[in-house]
């Protein structure tokens, strides 16, 4: 049971990060291979706040997320304000992620350089992760259903047309980046207090691809798709130990196949909502009868 809760916590932590990537890549259409950098910022910040300054755990998480957001605003404001093209942005984020990793690896005092930061108290429990995930899901859903979400979709589909309709494209992109950085940073914090040690090597480009995977698998225009995908991706290697080493190979293959065969992702444009649950209940004969039986 403890083991299962542990795996579920890992899944939930990755789901929190996925929620950020849903807004950035799924809805706004920006591509980043450097989000491991934001995760590292969140993880190190919250770990140090708790270990050195005795800041309460949850406050430290939020602080980690906020610092990640601040960094994202710095890089996002300068790059996206200038209407940097999407592919340039992707390369800039690659540079950002690697810079963060190298800065961490070369800073010996306080954070331990390349050797890493051991002895972080284990504070993350499954229930923390669950509650935070539910809050995140609700927030992301609200974002997507709001005017901001609509603007994001417009920017992804047709940037020029969105601009013509009066959407402030740079602003939408910067906010999408900032929100994604916050989620990814918070998930980094949860991760630090779950793993109890940090190393710069944990935040390599492979981790950035990991973050991207759930969104690609789950669907570009869906919240529940990536959320389910992130759970699935966390559980499969645990269930199938034998094939776990092929995990990244399979990721790569599925990236390519999905983009060729079904670029909208497995769930496509569908989201699972309450109406679906109602439908399933109806099939089971449990649906509430809302209307009086007219036929009788």
């Amino acid at each position: 049971m403890r083991y299962l809760l542990g795996v579920a916590s890992v899944a939930g932590i990755s789901m929190l990060a996925t929620m950020g990537m849903v807004i950035l890549t799924g809805y706004t259409g920006l591509f980043s291979v450097g989000h491991a950098g934001f995760m590292a910022i969140g993880a190190y910040t919250s770990a140090i706040l708790v270990m050195r300054f005795n800041v309460p755990f949850l406050l430290a998480l939020v602080a980690g997320g906020l610092l990640a957001t601040l960094c994202s605003l710095l890089i996002g404001h300068t790059s996206l304000r200038g209407r940097m093209r999407g592919d340039y942005f992707a390369i800039a984020m690659l540079g950002f992620g690697e810079s963060i990793r190298l800065i961490l690896a070369n800073t010996k005092p306080v954070i331990g350089g390349a050797m890493g930061l051991p002895g972080i108290p284990q504070k993350t429990t499954f229930w923390h992760v669950l509650v935070i995930d539910i809050i995140a899901l609700i927030l992301v859903r609200n974002y997507v259903k709001s005017q901001w979400g609509r603007n994001s979709i417009a920017v992804r589909e047709q940037e020029v047309a969105a601009m013509m309709m009066g959407v402030d494209v740079a602003k939408v992109k910067i906010w999408a980046l900032a929100i994604s950085a916050f989620f990814v940073g918070c998930s980094g914090g949860l991760w630090a207090f779950f793993m109890t040690y940090l190393q710069p090597a944990q935040f390599s480009q492979t981790r950035s691809s990991d973050l991207l995977a759930s969104v690609v698998f789950g669907g570009m225009n869906s919240i529940t798709g990536p959320a389910i995908a992130s759970f699935f991706l966390a559980f499969v290697p645990e269930l199938l130990r034998e094939v776990a080493k092929w995990r990244l190979v399979a990721y790569g293959a599925v990236f390519v196949i999905i983009m060729i065969v079904r670029p909208q992702g497995l769930f496509g444009y569908k989201d699972i909502g309450f109406e679906h649950i109602n439908k399933i209940l109806g099939k089971l004969g449990l649906k509430r009868r809302r209307y009086a039986d007219v036929s009788q």
């Binding site: 940097m84 390369i91 690697e98 190298l102 800065i103 940037e159 080493k245």
Partner: protein
């Protein structure tokens, strides 16, 4: 002063490898307008092909190296055919192309990690061919060879692009692919050629890097330097890629020689971010803002 000259020589030699890589990367960027993150995997395939070909006793050294370069070129062309072309004909968003490229890179690099193993192997070539002394500056023949091969390759590529019919077709595609195809240029053939050339250049630098450092699945990580060099010179510009590569190699060697080799990569990546944010058009680039 001697130390400076020594570092400058080393830097220019590394820079020439970077230049070669950056040109291979920039060639694809200039025509297809997307960042080929799978570029490093061609480098890795070239390096491994060289490793196995050189180890087999029946193949002479020169044939082994040529074989590995051709395998590198073929790998790149196959990647284009299998992964990119279906997206290209559908006119998919750049986002999909970049995700595919990341996927190809993951697939190939991690397959090598799982199947062959992640350990570092030495390329069975003499790692030091000797040293030429010019005054008090020593030039390793390896470095000289790298610079010479890079120079010859770049010259050959330039001649091909500027002087031949096919080269002109490639240049036409880099201006506007759809117009070029309307003019009867076989775009698929051009794509095949461009990716094969790019893979060839990647394999050349892959073999050089493998000989300088080691053969490993991570040898392709050096292709990140090609992105940096290409950005410095202006993305998609071939002369820019050459200048950017030489400059990056030179500055990196100066940093590791006079500051600390620990900060070399940090410096390069910070330079990448700073260059993209403040001078996104680079030294020779076009206007890079999202156009109407």
């Amino acid at each position: 002063m001697d130390r400076f000259a020594q570092q400058a020589v080393t830097g220019l030699s590394i820079g020439s490898i970077y230049a070669l890589l950056a040109v291979g990367y920039a060639l694809i960027f200039s025509i297809f307008n997307f960042s080929n993150f799978a570029f490093g995997s061609s480098m890795m395939i070239g390096a491994y092909a060289a490793y196995y070909a050189l180890k087999s006793p029946s193949i002479p050294t020169w044939a082994a190296i040529i074989l590995s370069l051709l395998i590198g070129a073929a790998s790149s062309a196959i990647i284009e055919r299998v992964a990119y072309r279906p997206l290209r004909v559908r006119n998919s968003p750049k986002l999909f192309l970049m995700i595919t490229a990341i996927g190809v890179n993951l697939l190939l690099v991690q397959s090598v990690v799982v199947v062959i193993g992640g350990e570092y192997r030495a390329l069975p070539l003499p790692s030091r061919l000797g040293v030429i002394s010019l005054g008090r500056v020593n030039i390793a023949i390896n470095d000289l060879l790298a610079a010479a091969v890079s120079g010859v390759s770049l010259l050959a590529l330039w001649t091909f692009l500027e002087k031949t019919r096919l080269g002109r077709a490639i240049r036409a595609c880099s201006y506007d692919m759809s117009t070029a195809s309307l003019m009867g240029i076989p775009v698929d053939l051009i794509a095949f050629l461009v990716f094969a050339i790019s893979g060839f250049l990647a394999a050349v630098s892959g073999v050089f890097c493998a000989q300088k450092y080691a053969v490993s699945p991570y040898v392709g990580d050096i292709s990140n330097k090609a992105f940096i060099a290409s950005v410095l010179g202006g993305l998609g510009s071939l002369p820019g890629a050459v200048v950017g590569g030489l400059l990056l190699g030179f500055v990196e060697t100066m940093i590791s020689g006079f500051v600390s080799s620990l900060y070399r990569d940090l410096f390069s990546y910070s330079l990448l971010v700073i260059a993209l944010v403040f001078f996104p058009q680079g030294m020779f680039g076009k206007d890079v803002r999202e156009s109407l």
